[in-house]
Amino acid sequence: MENILEIQNLCKKYDDFELKNVSFNLPKGMIMGFIGENGAGKTTTIKAILNIVKSYSGNIKIFGLDNCKDEEKIKEEIGVVLDDMFFPEILTPNDINNSMKSIYKNWDTKMFYNYLKEFSLLPNKQIKTFSKGMRKKLEIATALSHHPKLLILDEPTSGLDPVARVEVSQIFQSILEKDDCSILLSSHITADLEHIADYITFINNGEILLSKTTTELLDKYGIVKCTEKEFKTINKKDYIKYKKNKYEYEVLVPNKKDFKAKYNIGVIDKITLDELMVLMIKGEE
């Protein structure tokens, strides 16, 4: 399968934090959920992809092109939402449209105003009068209105109420169906990703812990809930991490079926991305 985004051995060092050999690929036409706790390195990785941060090492290819050498060409085809609000709040959506139609060659004014209507955003109101959720919707509308081939979205649903989050998720899915678009979507609201992401990449403390298809993760991985006595019978090779609760042990296993065949202990539950994150970060080996 053709990769729309390829990251190899991305390293970036700060005084108190570093990205360590971050590598993953996003196949064409797919949504990748990029998850991790706050400060794990999601935003730094995204900023490196977009050259917002510099002096990093490693290779980043977008559409098969080098993200530094072919920066202008690549950015024509990318839609971006960053985690911080970024439109000057004295502007109006009309001002954004006027500017963007001179910035993007493929800017689609009709599409932009359709999104404004869909999101109930008034075109002539100053952004400062918008709620946090409305501002996020305006940013999403802007990111979508030049027919991008790749969307890079850093926490696009944070600050949105559950209804708006579902709306936005549906829009992302419909884009994938209609257009030839791929999405890298970072979020700590992992419940949203379980429904829409084809791939999950999990970063912790600047390192990629896993990058797999969502189906593989949610179908194969599982949580075994058992007693201490039962836990002690499990071979270390057969689990990834465990967490000791008050009355039971929660054990993260990479393959529910294999585990069930080998051990007839405890209860094996399907795992959620939230549980996966907590166990991978807080669990013991």
């Binding site: 941060v53 002096s55 990318i78 971006v80 000057p88 109006t92 500017s99 963007m100 001179s102």
Partner: protein
């Protein structure tokens, strides 16, 4: 780049009313024969443009602008071009009004004096841009305000020291020698200054991380 200029001008459109009021005040004061405040208007236009840095900084626009096609280069170019555009437009309006005021008051128009005054004002305002923009790009708008205060204060002290202890008669001689070419020299110096300032700002911003 046009898109970035549109964005900067859209950010200051609420200040156009203020500029309009100041133009009326200037005209009325001129017609009443009060002091000439024409130089204030182009300076105001630079200050208004500088305020766009505050909005950009507060709303974290710079990081986003880099994600746009050719965003790093175009956002700097746009700031310089939008500021120069504002200075020129306001200077032309002020000059036309000065002609009108001059004619209304004396029934004659002192073209030379008004044009020299306009050129001096444009030079002064561009001098502000030349010094301030690289400092803003390097240190950010908040620190730049303090930096500018220190620079101006330093220049005043150095200037007063030079004026007090050094013989400046050679400058007067030089100016009288260059009298015929003064306007052309001023224009060339201004263009060079702005170009160097732009290149410094570009170098700073191209390396900057957000």
């Amino acid at each position: 780049m046009i898109g970035f200029i549109k964005k900067d001008l859209a950010m200051i459109k609420s200040n156009f009313k203020l500029l309009g009021i100041l133009i009326i005040v200037y005209t009325v004061m001129g017609l009443l024969g009060e002091m000439d405040v024409s130089f204030i208007l182009p300076f105001m236009s630079v200050m208004i443009m500088i305020s766009t840095f505050s909005f950009d900084n507060y709303n974290k626009w710079d990081a986003y602008s880099i994600s746009l096609p050719n965003g790093r280069k175009n956002s700097i170019k746009a700031k310089y071009i939008a500021t120069i555009f504002m200075i020129l437009v306001v200077s032309v309006i002020t000059t036309i009004l000065s002609f009108v005021i001059s004619y209304a008051n004396t029934k004659t128009i002192n073209y030379e004096q008004i044009l020299v005054s306009m050129l001096g004002t444009i030079f002064g305002t561009l001098l502000v841009l030349t010094f301030m923009y690289p400092i803003i790009y390097k240190f950010g708008i908040e620190k730049a305000r303090i930096g500018i205060f220190i620079i101006v204060f330093g220049l005043v002290i150095i200037g007063s020291f030079i004026a007090q202890y050094l013989d400046l008669s050679f400058i007067a001689k030089l100016l009288s020698f260059l009298e015929n070419y003064l306007v052309i020299i001023l224009i060339i110096i201004t263009i060079l200054m702005v170009y160097i300032s732009y290149k410094i700002s570009e170098k700073i911003f191209m390396k900057k991380e957000f």
